[in-house]
Symmetry: C2
Subunit: 114 residues, 2 copies
């Protein structure tokens, strides 16, 4: 993932309503959710919802698939994983013995940090 992509993704997620939308779609999984469904669940006016959905699509974090009158939104899991990889890339300059991170569930055996 490029730096600019990471910034775009992080900026998009750094907002309460967009993070709520994204989390909703992450939990929903590959099935996704309809736009109106999301708006109902989060109590967002149409225009506001549409604005934030567009931001998330533009950041590459979700995808939109029109289905007749409806639009199905889904989390882009590859982008999410790419973002996570970007944040941890080359941590501690690749010297695990530095013990930069505690052994948490977010650490993987092959990581530089762990």
């Amino acid at each position: 993932m490029e730096t600019n992509d990471a910034i775009a993704a992080l900026t998009a997620l750094g907002h309460a309503k967009r993070l709520a939308i994204f989390r909703l779609l992450v939990v929903a999984g590959p099935t996704g959710r309809m736009a109106g469904d999301i708006g109902d669940e989060l109590g967002l006016p149409g225009a506001t919802l549409s604005f934030h959905l567009k931001e998330l699509v533009h950041a590459g974090l979700i995808t939109a698939e029109p289905q007749g009158r409806f639009v199905c939104y889904r989390a882009a899991f590859e982008a999410m994983n790419g973002l996570i990889a970007y944040l941890t890339d080359n941590c501690c300059a690749g010297s695990p013995q530095d013990g930069c991170a505690p052994m948490t569930s977010a650490c993987r055996p092959g990581d530089a940090c762990c």
Copy 2:
């Protein structure tokens, strides 16, 4: 990690200069870097650097430790890992068989998604 903490962290990272600072500290590992050192490396004026460092500290992503006239900044790896865990928490409502994510390096065996 609480939702508000995650938002604060994501907002802080969603900015080119702050992301550069954070990445620098992630690569530096537990040793950390001095404030002036960071400013030199990234070419930031003192005031601007101090502003962004404060934002990152406030978001819990880095820590500051005064050492005489110097201040050593370090990445808060636990916060970083907590943020990553927040993003992926309960993905696909805990049904791995949905195949919500491809098997990437960011996926761990125990994940709901993978």
